[in-house]
Amino acid sequence: MTELKMRRDVFNTLEPSDWKNPSLFFDKGFKEWKEKDGDRGTDIGEHIRAVCDFPVPDIYIAAYRRWLGETVDKARFAPWYGELKGTRLFIGLGMAHVLEAQVCRHPVYGMPYIPGSALKGLARAKAREYAQKQKDREQVKQFNKVIDILFGTSTDVEETDAGYLIFHDAWWIPKQEGGCEDKPYVPEVVTVHAAEYYANQGREGTPHPDMESPNPNQQLAVQGSFYFVVEGAQQWAELGRKFLTIALEEEGIGCKVAAGYGYFEEEEGRRKEREAREQEERKRLADIEAEKEAQRVADEKAEQEKIAAEKEAALLASLTPEKRLIHELKVLLDQYGSLTHKLGAEATKIQGELQGQIKRMLNHDKWSEADVTDREEALKSIEHAVSLSKLSKKAKKKRLNTARALLKTKDGE
């Protein structure tokens, strides 16, 4: 008996501090019922208010930081910071508890959390809804296949697969770490107004619901913000995260969502941060794509040049030496002709090559064996090339004379 009394004394005089477990106090620290039965609600309310006074344990803050560190890798984890703005969260309300005021609390740290299984189910439902909205039947089918891969096949098919994505429990964010509240628990009253009426499903003879006295229930609710994280290869995790967070914003999570509980919003600063990060990521991906495209274009060009060079080489090999000389000169003439400015380094370079080619042609000693047409063509090209050159009139004339002497046709002119 003394043992029990000692424990009673401990709980009865327990002052809130950051190294005590609020959750254990909630479960085991309830004081004795007061004499009058009608005070029960008051007693529970008092106890719940005492629990809500507890600050966040320091070891939880350390554990939360460690969890942030574990999930920091952006290539693997898609994070999201959700705030319960103007609303509260009831999750696990239906689980058994001696005070009938249950809420999902971490079994070790005593802080609230949202189970990963609940988050996964919510995200899956949202993804399914999205799939049903697709107009095309084929698209619906495709989408459902993706859902099965990401979330796992449902249990009613014979061969089941585990899902690819990992939905971690959501951690409550302490204020020191950027959360919006410094204490997680908050007293709440849920009042039942017409229990009997609804229990009898409004059958005849049931008193009018207004005749019943309301029955307020003292409850423990959760306020503040949570850190959600989906794990998987980046883009898939990001997709899972999107379904999850759209659902958290639009559908809410936990009990009593129909009464406005459990809706999350992304905190403004974090949203901007995330959007900036996403934009950066999109830009990075776009850059990679652009680089790939540029590389592809360059490769294609190189390939075409290679083919052209091969063709050219093959062509040259098939020609007689005379025809080859003429061809080479013509290519140079074309290049010179396509220049927009006949001044500058490139023009000078081609000019040099042209003169070199003319010299080579004039040094060629087998023109007498070549066809008349070849000789005529060679002469024409040389005349053209000489006319384009920047030589003196005298030098031009000298060159033309040499060419004409060398390339004169058999019948003479």
Binding site: K20, S23, P107, Y109, G110, G121
Partner: protein, 317 residues
């Protein structure tokens, strides 16, 4: 045979299950037959390590395996195969056993809610005696700490820096303990375990020492049965948001912050393609593992279970 030890520190609830149960809990965790203490089967850990160290998907938890740029992939693969054994298909051509033998991870400290200090890392003399026996195997000599003796009854040893006691009492869940303090062995033990599991982390070493607690075997046995985490799961009907008929089940987990230890032996290679000695292979294994690894062990991975720190034990520590 080369020997090392490893530690598992659960960061989230850990479900190393048996697949079926006959009691209230539909999906209980694996336990040692003789003592009823929770374990994480070595086979599960081996599989995870095998995948983690697989050179052909090294570093890539991606949907596609990544290509290895350095030329010694083949050598790495042969070494990996020598460590873990060939795949089932390869084994048909010529099988051999892997050189590693990874033993079950055994419970070292169980986190239990405490009124003061939020929770305590609880253990008992029986577990510590086994832990010491394993340590001996590595060091070859007796470890330099003695066992604190503990009489039966609701008494518990805590460290001198303890934060879980108040007025010479510790209050766990439903149990109260008289505190015993000022024992050099208890302090040394807490130091050793803290240093092994939280290397280079002063904050968590301090947290550990403030919460370390040794309670009698029989009381611990009770806690190991009842203080695990049981989660209720339901399945909602699509569209109606009501629970599907029969879709309520209970799963047992080791809670976050649970600490376990286990042993790893390494033999010489039995592979035709690799001629490593036990020493070579163990060295390769330790190099590949590095200081510590974040792994996922056990079931229900897709709802976040089983995220752990896997810490290779310092030899001789």
């Amino acid at each position: 045979m080369e020997t090392m030890c490893y530690y598992i520190h659960a960061l989230t609830a850990l479900h190393a299950g048996t697949g079926q149960g006959v009691g209230v809990v539909d999906l209980p965790i694996a336990r040692e037959k003789s003592t009823g203490l929770p374990i994480v089967p070595g086979s599960g850990i081996k599989g995870v390590l095998r995948e983690e160290l697989n050179p052909s998907n090294a570093g890539a938890d991606d949907l596609q395996p990544c290509e290895d740029s350095d030329g010694n992939t083949k050598e790495k693969e042969q070494c990996w195969e020598a460590l873990f054994g060939p795949t089932a298909q390869d084994a048909e051509k010529g099988g051999f056993a892997g050189a590693l033998n990874i033993q079950d991870a055994q419970l070292l400290c169980l986190p239990v809610r405490s009124v003061y200090g939020v929770f305590a890392w609880v253990t008992c003399p029986f577990i510590l005696e086994r832990y010491r026996r394993d340590s001996k195997q590595i060091v070859g000599t007796s470890p330099d700490w003695g066992m604190p003796c503990l009489e039966d009854g609701e008494k518990a040893w805590v460290t001198d820096d303890s934060k879980i006691d108040e007025k010479e009492k510790v209050f766990l869940e439903d149990l109260d303990f008289d505190v015993l303090k000022n024992n050099g062995n208890v302090n040394t033990l807490a130091d050793k375990i803290a240093a092994a599991i939280f290397p280079n982390d002063d904050t968590w070493q301090r947290f550990f020492k403030e919460r370390f607690m040794i309670i009698p075997d029989n009381v611990f046995s009770f806690l190991a049965e009842t203080a695990t985490e049981v989660r209720a799961r339901i399945k909602l009907k699509e569209g109606t948001r009501t629970v599907e008929k029969g879709a309520l089940w209970y799963e047992e987990n080791l809670p976050a912050e649970t600490l376990l230890w286990g042993m790893i032996g390494c033999d010489r290679s039995r592979s035709e393609n690799h001629t490593g000695t036990a020493k070579d292979l163990m060295k390769h294994f330790q190099e590949q593992i590095g200081a510590e690894k974040g792994l996922q062990i056990g079931g229900n991975a897709t709802v976040g279970r089983g995220r752990v720190r896997w810490v290779p034990g310092q030899l001789g520590a």
